[in-house]
């Protein structure tokens, strides 16, 4: 997205104010428009008024059109699994991933319907042939696109064998007790979060 920024900044034609704000909005968009740019009503009315000068380009004319959804379902799912500090999987081609969505464990195969899923604390497993790698994800989102690309983002994700079961048991007992003795709404919410997260870690270590 920053490739666009230098090109846009070096443009000598002055842009009307509204396209500048669109530029700022577009630069952060991870989605590209589905239709390639055609002669929009703006450029048509420009040409009527000033036929000699080229109409200014709008941000959308610089963007690549959205990659077309393949007519046949691809055989592999491309996964991008990113954390704020590292990219765990970058464009890895796998057979299936199972993400812990708030609505339950969701399996994603190539050709999955485009979905945005909020994740709850739980185990994400990546299946590649006969190998399964499991990560415990603290929370985040999974975006599944029409072209069988899945982006999973999380704040913290660790391989399940990095979790220490003693600390998990202790924490679970701690928060269960806090849940019982909590008074304010906020304390209850925090204790409930603690119980959720620790019981998820517990079941990840057991199963």
């Amino acid at each position: 997205m920053f490739r666009q920024a230098s090109r846009l900044l070096s443009r000598s034609i002055a842009q009307p104010q509204h396209t500048k704000t669109k530029v700022a909005a577009r630069a952060f968009s991870t989605d590209v428009p589905a239709t390639p740019t055609e002669d929009s009503p703006f450029s048509q009315s420009w040409k009527k008024v000033i036929p000699t000068i080229e109409p200014p380009k709008t941000p959308s004319s610089y963007m690549k059109p959205r990659p077309a959804t393949a007519s046949t379902i691809p055989t592999k799912l491309t996964v991008n699994f990113v954390l704020p500090y590292a990219s765990q999987l970058a464009e890895k081609e796998v057979d299936m991933i199972i993400v812990p969505a708030t609505t339950g464990q969701m399996g994603v195969l190539p050709g999955h319907v485009p979905t945005i899923a909020e994740l709850k604390p739980g185990v994400m497993s990546v299946h590649e042939g006969n190998d399964v790698s499991k990560y415990f994800v603290s929370s985040g989102f999974a975006f599944i696109h029409a072209n069988s690309v899945a982006d999973v983002i999380a704040v913290e994700a660790v391989p399940v064998d990095h979790l220490d079961s003693n600390l998990v048991q202790k924490g679970l007992a701690d928060f269960t007790q806090k849940l019982g003795s909590a008074s304010t709404d906020l304390e209850k919410a925090e204790a409930q979060i603690g119980v959720d997260v620790y019981s998820a870690m517990n079941s990840a270590l057991m199963g």
Partner: protein, 71 residues
């Protein structure tokens, strides 16, 4: 999922934002790691920032905060 008009998830009803919820979950997970990973992870949580209020166009003495994250 939630029905229309529902208060949403329980932490939202208690006044927490998604970002603080997510950060709390992450910090709980980090606290349960095995040793070498744990100290690396807790390093990631450290914050250091300085805030100064501006009154009448002049900054007041800055308040410097550092340590592990938290609201």
């Amino acid at each position: 999922m939630a029905s229309a008009g529902a208060a949403g998830p329980f932490w939202r009803a208690a006044g927490m934002t998604y970002v603080s919820y997510s950060n709390k979950c992450a910090s709980m997970v980090r606290n349960c790691l095995k040793e070498p990973h744990r100290s690396e992870a807790l390093d990631r949580e450290k914050v250091h920032f300085s805030i100064s209020k501006w009154i009448d166009g002049k900054p007041e003495k800055p308040l410097i905060r550092e340590g592990t994250g938290g609201d």
